[in-house]
């Protein structure tokens, strides 16, 4: 039986106090989103009960904004970007780790620039380019930028992962005369599945949460993402507390559910990536 030491109790008290500070504000928003305006102000810390429960804020959000559409836009941009980042990134990471060729090191360094230098600083030119390409207010513009932004880190992570795959498999395949494309498609690609969680932590979350590029590249015409949509909605309905709290809850909920479902992989990916 483990003995309870006073030192440990102090540790748990410290952690629980900080936990209250970290989670409290989020919980506060979630519980007040389901309360009447009167209850929000009279008893902000109370849970909604039969007298104070209302979903009027959500009705107003759905009546006054295209929240479903924003959600779909965010989902499309994030999923398509992530898919492309993983496929294209894995191809490049495979080429850079598997084959020795002239310029390999230079290319790796060239691709690494994007890890440290934020692509945001090129926004002036990106916007000009998107205007020329007629891509303003399209999801394509966002996807192209996010793929370019996510590739450097994805290539680094996937490259380290591919290096750990045993060489026997591909050597055996080569002896059998299998083409390099099929070795990549049928052997390597299925094997990198575990690394996808790690790539997702570093690329998917920033894409979903981004405000900057939606704001300058796709601010209107029904192409807003959730983050931008909520920002615009709150700007308009700032005095309607029910609607504001409901829109924040709608923005938090999907991330919350996904995070609690997959946090094990995310946290593992984050700590594993840090060891290097």
């Amino acid at each position: 039986m483990p003995t309870i030491r006073p030192g440990r109790i102090a540790v748990h008290i410290a952690l629980i106090l900080y936990l209250a500070l970290a989670i409290g504000p989020i919980v506060l928003i979630l519980i007040n989103a389901f309360k009447t305006r009167r209850a929000i102000f009279a008893d902000p810390l109370g849970l909604p009960n039969s007298q104070t429960f209302t979903a009027i804020g959500f009705d107003r959000v759905f009546a006054n904004s295209d929240f479903g559409l924003y959600f779909l836009n965010s989902l499309t941009v994030t999923v398509v970007s992530l898919g492309l980042i993983i496929l294209i990134g894995a191809m490049a990471a495979w080429a850079l780790t598997e084959y020795r060729f002239r310029g390999n090191t230079i290319l790796s360094l060239y691709l690494a620039i994007g890890i440290m230098v934020p692509i945001r600083l090129g926004s002036v030119s990106i916007l000009r380019m998107m205007v020329d390409l007629n891509l303003v207010n399209t999801l394509t513009a966002l996807i192209l930028v996010y793929v370019a932004q996510g590739l450097p880190l994805a290539i680094l992570i996937l490259g380290e992962f591919i290096q750990q795959i045993p060489k026997d498999l591909r050597d055996a395949a080569r002896c059998d005369g299998v083409s390099e494309y099929r070795i990549f498609g049928s052997i390597i690609l299925p094997l990198i599945r575990p690394a996808i969680a790690t790539v997702a932590v570093f690329t998917m979350v920033p894409i979903w949460n981004d405000l900057w590029f939606p704001l300058i590249l796709a601010p209107g015409a029904g192409k807003q993402t959730v983050t931008l949509g909520v920002q615009q909605f709150i700007g308009q309905y700032v005095t309607d507390w029910n609607a504001v709290l409901a829109s924040l809850t709608l923005a938090i909920a999907p991330i919350l559910v996904l995070y609690l479902l997959f946090s094990r992989y995310l946290v593992r990916g984050l700590t594993a990536g840090a060891v290097k």
């Binding site: 926004s123 494309y181 507390w241």
Partner: protein, 319 residues
């Protein structure tokens, strides 16, 4: 091309090396093309554009470093630029001390051996980091809103009620408040990275030190801290790049004008206003490019100082 190939074969080198193999090009092409067009080219083009000035007709002419001279010396620009840079430095300093300090503290607690509920703490403490900066900004705006009164009520409960003020609205406190909101959100990143470094230190090392008579403080100071210094370096440079590129939070909470009276203005919001314009001032792509280039220089300086000044001096330990 065939001549070179022929000489190489004669010289006895591996034949595949002489001609660039097609499959390698195919694997690399998509990544290189997208990355070059939408990341590297815009950055280079922004630097080029910062050397031009546009007039009312939309025509551009080369002005050399003229935009930067304007930015640093013209009273209409330099005041705002230095203000934004100064605020950004304060923003960064608060993150370095408070965010990374709390992150280190939490990581130390979480890395205690056989801590009950460790993974639950880690998961929940990291939750705010996953949410959008914009959402976090609005959440804290509501909580600190004197109208709602949650913050003063809670402060009164712990006997600090007299401290409360409209922190986000006062010129003297707005920047610190916004910085602390950002710290609150991103404390999970240093926490996780330092935690990962700490659990990778073998127990033997700490046991050996303890056997030699080192107390908990000495073990931390002389054994664990030197071993996690490389991670602290990584955390510092990540914080630096993120802070000097920040925009979303200030824009969500205080708008593009970064009020009150530009007291929360940082380089990101200054860049946005210069590029798109605000109120009566018309936006200028070329001045915007100059501000972006200035930010790029600041970030590159930080990265270079890290790479050559810090990282090289830190010995990496692998177990």
């Amino acid at each position: 091309m065939s001549d070179i190939a022929a000489t190489n074969v004669q010289a006895g080198s591996v034949p595949e090396r002489s001609r660039f193999p097609l499959h390698i090009a195919v694997f690399l092409a998509p990544a290189l093309i997208i990355y070059t067009i939408f990341s590297i080219y815009p950055l280079v083009d922004t630097i080029r554009l910062s050397l031009y000035a546009g007039d009312e007709t939309g025509a551009r002419h080369f002005v050399g470093l003229g935009n930067f001279v304007t930015l640093l010396t013209d009273p209409a620009w330099s005041g705002q630029f230095w203000n934004a840079l100064g605020n950004n430095l304060i923003f960064f300093a608060i993150h370095m001390v408070v965010q990374n300090g709390i992150g280190l503290g939490l990581a130390m607690l979480l890395s205690l051996p056989r801590l009950t509920g460790g993974s639950i703490y880690r998961t929940l403490l990291f939750l705010p980091t996953m949410l959008s900066v914009v959402i976090i900004g609005f959440i804290w705006q509501l909580i600190l809103n004197p109208l709602w009164g949650i913050a003063p009520t809670l402060l009164k409960a712990v006997g600090l009620g007299s401290l409360f003020g409209p922190w986000l609205g006062q010129e003297s406190t707005a920047l610190v408040t916004v910085s602390l909101i950002s710290v609150w959100q991103f404390v999970g990143i240093p926490m996780m990275l330092i935690y990962a470094a700490l659990i990778n230190i073998p127990d033997d090392l700490m046991d050996a030190a303890t056997v030699d008579g080192a107390g908990p403080f000495s073990v931390f100071w002389f054994v664990r801290l030197p071993l996690i210094l490389p991670t602290l370096g990584v955390v510092s440079i990540l914080t630096f790049v993120a802070n000097f590129n920040a925009f979303d939070l200030i824009y969500a909470v205080k708008g593009a004008l970064a009020g009150p009276n530009f007291s929360t203005d940082i380089l990101g919001t200054f860049f946005y206003r210069t590029f798109f314009g605000y109120q009566l001032q018309v936006g200028s792509p070329t001045m915007g490019a100059a501000v972006a280039t200035a930010m790029l220089i600041v970030i590159l300086l930080g990265v270079l100082i890290y790479l050559f000044g810090v990282q090289r001096r830190l010995q990496r330990h692998t177990f």
